[in-house]
């Protein structure tokens, strides 16, 4: 199957393996990807960058057969193909390494790796051979992870590597990495990047999606930028610096995304925590927040930020001192925290935040249902009026208010969750990953709501993995690493670099 075909314009570079030609994809009336044409070559690492909602995930899903395009087509070795599903994609050698960990928690690394294609010796599975091969695959990352204990007992980083190893155990010509380093420490990230270089040397076409632009700069040969579902540019990586990439991703002045910062409040702290611990996740956390202040919590995934606040607010075991308005408190459950005026908005909107099958009104009033009671009954009129108010105030965009929460977009769900928790009129609001999976327009609005909450005199704590978001929004940022608060940045000293150094504990670039 030699020779150059259409789409392989340069005979000196390696030939095109996979081509996307005019791919578009719509969900209902919304076009999330429009007219994307890209060429992926053997032995080349092609990074795809863009903000949340830029269309990266949709593109990956189409390339790996999880989703069909609305228009356009794929060519493999120059032949047009249609992928009926991920199984067919894998059969053709296209492997997607998922962002979320998709391993059976009760099975071992080896069992997970060979799930569905177990090695056998006679009738029985050959555990010894599978363990040996799994160990070898993990060593390829320079990691000596136990391959014969349940995955549940491994660290998030080990699981992530196991998942990658599993994906690479299948025959592959094109490997798509979707944010593979999101939960890796610098050491493991370096190991993964080495592995990717080896794939490249073996002539595999690598697609690499990441938010971490330094990492992209380090690994990629070609960089494609997507914005709002459209192709912005494809350039050789050596021509670009991370700052250029960021500018192309956002496509406008970065600062305009965030509302004007109010002056740092100076009042007495309203919420003060000292020596708090969430066993197994966070130790010795001490901090305080003032009325009207927006306090950020930065850190890598798995740094213990979510668990720390869940423990403080009675959602998981924890111990330590909490003072609210000077009075010592201990919250037995979320209800107790809510009564005291402290609410926590979960990062897991779909799993823990909203009842996806219930209508908007039932979701809105669920946490503050006692305010919508007349005796034992629910006052439906009052509930309907509250929904009208919330829809107006938070600009929840739905044509028909009788739909269920699950039928709305991520941005509208986040607005509804915000409205739901603000029904409690809290003094302290903790918002975990406020803009995860939210489109850029809604993102901007959510930032404005957060700024407005602080202006009303509430204390807002924002937990986020997007450093730019924290820098743009917060008065002060605390950084957590390995379950401890390791530093604080504020004022003009808030730079991504400072936060990364604190969050990883590594000075300089650990990735080369």
């Amino acid at each position: 199957m030699g020779g150059s075909r259409t789409g392989a314009p340069d005979a000196t570079t390696s030939s095109a393996v996979l081509e996307a030609v005019g791919l578009s994809r719509s969900f209902g009336p919304v076009e999330v990807l429009s007219d994307i044409s890209l060429t992926f070559r053997a032995g080349e690492t092609h990074a795809i960058i863009g903000e949340n909602g830029a269309g990266k995930s949709t593109l990956m899903k189409i390339l790996s057969g999880h989703l069909g395009p609305s228009r356009g087509l794929l060519r493999l070795d120059g032949e047009p193909i249609t992928l009926a599903g991920p199984v067919e994609a894998e059969r053709r050698g296209i492997v997607l390494v998922h962002q979320e960990i998709m391993l059976a928690p009760d099975l071992t690394i080896a069992e997970n790796m060979f799930l569905g294609r177990e090695l056998r010796r006679g009738l029985a599975v050959d555990d010894r051979a599978m363990n040996a091969r799994a160990r070898e695959a993990m060593r390829a990352f320079g990691v000596d992870a136990p391959v014969d204990v349940p995955v549940e007992r491994l660290s998030i980083a080990q699981r992530q590597l196991a998942q990658i190893a599993r994906a690479l155990a299948a025959p592959h010509r094109i490997v798509i990495f979707d944010e593979p380093t999101a939960s890796l420490t610098p050491v493991e990230t370096a190991a993964l990047l080495r592995r990717i270089r080896k794939l490249k040397a073996d002539g595999v076409a690598v697609l690499y999606i990441s938010h971490r632009l330094e990492e992209v700069k380090a690994i990629a040969d070609v960089v494609t930028v997507l914005r709002d579902g459209k192709h912005v540019a494809t350039r050789a990586a050596e021509e670009l610096q991370p700052v250029d990439m960021a500018r192309m991703m956002v496509g406008r002045d970065l600062l305009s995304l965030y509302p004007e910062r109010s002056p740092s409040p100076t009042g007495d702290p309203v919420f003060a925590v000292s020596g708090f611990r969430a066993p197994g996740y966070a130790e010795d956390a001490s901090f305080s927040v003032r009325p009207g202040e927006i306090l950020g919590f930065a850190g890598l995934v798995g740094a213990g930020r979510t668990e720390l606040f869940e423990a403080m607010f009675g959602l998981r075991p924890g111990a330590g001192e909490i003072r609210l308005d000077g009075a010592q408190k201990r919250f037995r459950d979320a209800r107790a925290a809510m009564r005291a005026g402290a609410v926590y908005l979960t990062e897991d909107r779909k799993g823990k935040g909203l009842l996806l099958e219930e209508p908007l009104g039932a979701n809105l009033t669920l946490a503050a249902l006692d305010r919508y009671r007349r005796g034992p009954l629910i006052d439906r009129d009052k509930e309907a009026r509250a929904l009208d108010d919330a829809v107006r105030r938070f600009d929840i965009r739905v044509g028909d208010k009788s739909i269920t929460a699950g039928q709305m977009s991520g941005g509208n769900q986040q607005k509804l969750l915000l409205a739901k928790m603000l029904e409690l009129d809290p003094k302290i609001v903790v918002i975990d990953e406020p803009t995860r999976g939210v489109d850029i327009g809604a993102k901007r609005q959510i930032y404005e709501f957060i700024a407005a909450l602080a202006k009303e005199g509430r204390s807002v704590i924002v937990i986020s993995s997007e450093m730019a978001e924290l820098i743009g929004l917060c008065h002060r940022i605390l950084v957590m690493r390995g379950g401890r608060i390791v530093g604080e940045v504020f004022g003009d000293a808030m730079t991504e670099h400072d936060i990364v150094v604190l969050a990883t504990g590594v000075e300089g670039d650990a990735r080369s």
């Binding site: 459950d333 996806l356 099958e357 009954l377 208010k401």
Partner: protein, 332 residues
């Protein structure tokens, strides 16, 4: 401009959900079939009989609807019914109160208290002990039935005083304007059950807990309390059924209420309540209980299928109902 799209969209007609209507449609269809098979089927006598006979299951199943909606399950209801019946009869036999009417009323009140207590036991064990409801109620099922067997010394407990028996018979066999008491009780229990589920704040929380426990917890709902109350209400429903049941046979033995739990759960599921929780339909459950009773009745009235196969037919129905639910919810 964008504001305009919100306005005026709320419909005046309640949206009809196929899943909610299906059990009633099936019931009507069965009644039509019944008329074809045997012209006696639609006689007032026979229909009243069917309704009265379905009372126990229907009343218990309304309680089970609440428990299942909360994401729980109660396998102990049949055994609980036997135990409550036995204790009620023992109290009636004790003759602690001279006046017959007062004695019966006191016995009824005692039954309700015992039922509520049994439910509380189930509820607290599942919630505080954090044990699967299947296991807990499997355990209490054995405990309740065994206690009754022990109290009856392997035999049966019977109402001894003939005056009491005659007076109490009215509760099952009596009527108001031709409507038997058991039928009125079904209506009452169903109305209260549907009211709790759909109109009260407790019902909203019950559905939230069954739909997604984490969301409920993160919304500050006391999940354990909501679940425990559901089991207590279930216990009270069992006791109500017993109060209506005891006068029918005036006796309780180790076979009283045997297998009722499965029939009740079948009625709940056939009625459109989701087995894994979050969606509950009290009236659907009544329809489900009637469907099961009508089928049994039809099999007796006709000679098409041997009545020994009633269990097989009921088993087939629960599977068919699940398939129908699945395809209806997929069609939405």
């Amino acid at each position: 401009m964008s504001q305009a799209t919100y306005a005026g969209k709320s419909s005046f007609l309640p949206r009809i959900e196929l899943g909610a209507v299906a059990p009633f449609a099936a019931l009507l269809l069965l009644c039509g079939l019944g008329e074809l098979v045997n012209s006696r089927f639609l006689s007032v006598d026979n229909l009243t009989n069917v309704l009265a006979r379905s009372a126990f299951i229907a009343i218990i199943a309304v309680g089970e609807t609440l428990v299942i909606t909360s994401g729980g399950l109660d396998l102990s209801v049949g055994a609980m019914a036997a135990l409550v019946a036995g204790l009620e009869i023992l109290f009636l036999n004790s003759g602690l109160i001279e006046n017959t009417s007062l004695l019966i009323v006191a016995a009824m009140a005692l039954s309700l208290a015992i039922g509520a207590l049994c439910g509380l036991l189930n509820g607290l064990t599942t919630t505080i002990g954090k044990i699967e409801p299947f296991i807990v109620t499997l355990g209490t099922m054995g405990i309740f039935r065994s206690l009754l067997t022990w109290l009856a010394q392997g035999g049966s407990i019977t109402v001894r005083n003939t005056d009491v028996r005659a007076a109490y018979r009215q509760v099952y066999f009596g009527d108001v304007f031709g409507i038997p008491y058991p039928v009125l009780v079904i209506l009452g229990v169903a109305i209260v059950g549907a009211f709790i589920l759909h109109k009260t704040a407790y019902g909203r929380r019950l559905r939230a807990v069954g739909s997604n426990e984490d969301v409920a917890r993160y919304s500050g709902i006391d999940v354990a309390r909501v679940r425990t109350i559901a089991y207590v209400l279930q216990g009270i429903c069992v006791a109500i059924a017993v109060v209506v049941y005891v006068p029918r046979l005036s006796s309780a033995s180790s076979t009283t209420g045997l297998g009722w739990e499965l029939v009740a759960i079948t009625a709940v599921v056939v009625g459109g309540t989701r087995l894994k929780g979050g969606v509950g339909r009290a009236w659907g459950t009544i329809a489900g209980a009637l469907i099961l009773e009508v089928i049994g009745n039809l099999m007796l009235l006709s000679n098409l299928v041997s009545e020994y196969l009633i269990g097989a037919v009921q088993g087939a129905i629960i599977i068919i109902a699940m398939l129908a639910q699945r395809s209806l919810s997929r069609g939405r």
